[in-house]
Symmetry: C2
Subunit: 194 residues, 2 copies
Amino acid sequence: MKNRVITISREFGSGGRTVGKRTAERLGIPCYDQTLIEQISRESGLSPEFVREKGEYTTHGGWLASVFADRGPDGSSTQDFLGMVQRKVILKLAEEGPCVIVGRCGDYILREAADCLKVFIHADMEKRAERIVAVYGEREEAPVERLRDKDRRRAAYYRFYTGAEWGDARNYHLSLDSGVFGIDRCVDLIAGLY
Amino acid sequence: MKNRVITISREFGSGGRTVGKRTAERLGIPCYDQTLIEQISRESGLSPEFVREKGEYTTHGGWLASVFADRGPDGSSTQDFLGMVQRKVILKLAEEGPCVIVGRCGDYILREAADCLKVFIHADMEKRAERIVAVYGEREEAPVERLRDKDRRRAAYYRFYTGAEWGDARNYHLSLDSGVFGIDRCVDLIAGLY
């Protein structure tokens, strides 16, 4: 029988990672986020920083972004290699038992391999800007610019590796605005539907 | 103070109309769906059939669909006129008191005029095909073809009149897969969040 897995896709700054962590705690199952990055790093030999960044974001935004990535003579890139390792690790974790998987196209990778509850967490620009300044501190780049850039590059990554539109409600079972409902209410709803 | 309004956007065949009706019953507030069409028809002098079809769908699918609609010498079309009346009627109903508004770009029209809970109801193709055959009966056109055509024309309408993408989770506070959760669970969730 397939394991029950919750996949959390999230906009940067929406608190989706925290929603995932707390939902897992509530349900008494593991949440793979930082651990996932570490496992992919060990398995691939790539640094955790590279995995964190290149396993969800293209280098530049836009439709053709990934096509212009540095590619070897066979046309494949290090990012493609990372994508393959990522897929393998996520499939293995989902096979081991019920869990929460945050980001990294988990919803797409597990679409046939697990009994998934696919969740998307988003919030409006203002709420996310407040949150990233509170959580990650000020940077030289204005928070709204940082978010726009992150959104563009994450959408381009998702589109390139899955062929689907990141953030389209129809890719998920449940999409929630964490800025309106708050983190705790999101956790209640997801845990209640699991 | 602004009234609290629930807007339900929905894929054809997802049961979103029923979700809206039952949520309104549960909360003891009116649901504007058929009544909305009748009011717009009276106000505009256009037939209910024209209102039902042309107030949510373009004639053909695709990005430029509405640009090629029949237009008068000032560049406007009957569909534009209908759009204006629709907007006026929806704004008036939302001003009168709390209610549920189904479809017709209600989420967009009321974005600043009401305290909205914006909901999107969707379901996968298979579930929707089953539902439309059960509810509306067999037609000459295969159900999946009918749904694809409806989806395309509704998305084109929404894009033309709002500039936003229909079905993008970020346009709504809550998006639900009614095929996975069922109608009753959707009603519970929406009524609980209202």
